[in-house]
């Protein structure tokens, strides 16, 4: 079986590809990418983990082993991203250290500018950068709940299921996370950064 990659073949492929996953990816891709970025230390790791998580979903759906309807895809991918991030974090290998160095070098070359996580017309760039910085410096267990609740539009029950914690623990971590962020903002205001 020979597959020749021509423009017409690619267009045919793209046409068939867009009918299945694109609508869902277009709607949820950005929030999943945000979560992957929050869970990892480099842009490349975030993309790799996100792709692996989406591949897992696609495989289960195509094999008919996915339990639940399309409404369950998002919580599944959140869980998959988190588990993959934990596995990535455990690997103390050269690849991971190299990716972190690449990210650090990229920041030096861009004058310390980090890859923006947010893009908003309602919030000015300064505030957005400070909030992003605050989110990055939050304890992970608070940051992940905040990310899933506010931008992932997950309920505390869904968050609890994805993270393996109770609904009440999810709600507590959400509140503590907001308090931490508020302190970070207040400190920025005192310094005159905001």
């Amino acid at each position: 079986m020979i597959e020749e990659e021509t423009d017409s073949a690619n267009n045919a492929n793209n046409a068939s590809v867009t009918t299945k996953w694109r609508p869902w990816l277009s709607e949820h891709g950005s929030k999943l990418l945000l979560f992957a970025r929050q869970q990892t230390r480099s842009t490349q790791d975030a993309e790799d983990i996100l792709q692996d998580a989406l591949v897992k979903l696609a495989r289960k759906v195509d094999e008919g082993t996915f339990e639940g309807g399309q409404e369950a895809w998002l919580p599944y991918v959140y869980t998959a991203i988190r588990r993959l991030a934990i596995d990535y974090g455990r690997k103390n290998d050269r690849r991971r250290l190299r990716e972190e160095k690449v990210e650090a070098d990229r920041q030096v070359m861009t004058g310390g500018a980090e890859q923006p996580w947010f893009n908003s017309d309602e919030v000015n760039e300064e505030t957005s950068a400070i909030l992003q910085d605050g989110l990055k410096n939050l304890p992970e267990k608070f940051a992940e709940v905040l990310t899933m609740k506010i931008w992932g539009e997950q309920t505390f029950a869904e968050i609890g299921q994805s993270l393996g914690i109770t609904l009440n623990t999810a709600a507590s971590r959400y509140r503590y996370g907001l308090e931490h962020l508020k302190k970070h903002l207040d400190a920025a205001r005192k310094r005159g950064d905001l």
Binding site: M1, I2, E3, E4, E5, T6, A9, A12, N13, N14, S16, V17, T18, K20, W21, R22, L25, S26, G29, S30, K31, L33, L34, E47, L50, Q51, D52, L54, V55, L57, A58, R59, D62, P116, W117, F118, N119, S120, E122, V123, T127, S128, L131, L146, I150, W151, R175, L178, E179, L181, K182, L185
Partner: protein
């Protein structure tokens, strides 16, 4: 509205950065071709069936060493079939550089591309990568000859995936199913 609620509203006004269109396309492509992206640790390990009903223990001796050598030779022969050389340490690029180009096909056969029969233009291609995957392993039974050590035959169905590249960088994927047989001596004493 308390301070935390105000902060919550402020956070909700932030919109996650949109996934770039090229990344969206890559993710979509990966989801449609998930078979090509299964992590190595998730690939199925097909175990050889256990002996039943009598449990037999294999002892690592001359027989097993010979079987292991036979499997290694089989793997080397498979590699030779694709690369035509005997230097496994050479990189694929080095091997490709040493290979003569595949002669042009005068009358290329019709091939199936995305379900449609088509006749591609003549193309000179060189191998770019080779991957062999075990699809299935099954016990084909025991063969015994008088006075000789009985051997258990295992049938291994494999699928070779070969990527060919032409001078323009266009990539052709070739899949070729195959069957391998492995013989292992059966311990009888």
């Amino acid at each position: 509205m308390d301070d935390l609620s105000k902060l919550e509203s402020q956070l909700e006004q932030l919109k996650p950065e949109e996934m770039p269109s090229d990344m969206l396309a890559r993710m979509e492509q990966a989801m449609c071709r998930w078979q090509d992206h299964v992590p190595a640790e998730e690939e199925k390990v097909i175990a050889f069936p256990q002996d039943t009903p009598t449990k037999q223990e294999f002892k690592w001796g001359m027989g097993m060493s010979a079987a292991a050598a036979a499997v290694a030779i089989m793997g080397a022969v498979s590699a030779l079939m694709f690369t035509g050389d005997t230097d496994p340490s050479a990189s694929m690029a080095q091997k490709n550089a040493a290979l003569p180009p595949v002669p042009e096909v005068a009358s290329p056969p019709q091939t199936v591309i995305n379900g449609a029969m088509t006749t591609p233009a003549t193309t000179v291609v060189v191998p770019d990568s080779v991957q062999q995957n075990v699809v299935r392993a099954s016990d084909a039974g025991i063969v015994t000859e008088d006075g000789k050590v009985p051997h258990r035959f295992f049938k291994i169905d494999v699928l070779d995936r070969i990527q060919l590249k032409d001078g323009n960088g266009r990539v052709y994927d070739v899949e070729r199913p195959g069957v391998r047989y492995i013989m292992l001596p059966v311990e009888t004493e």
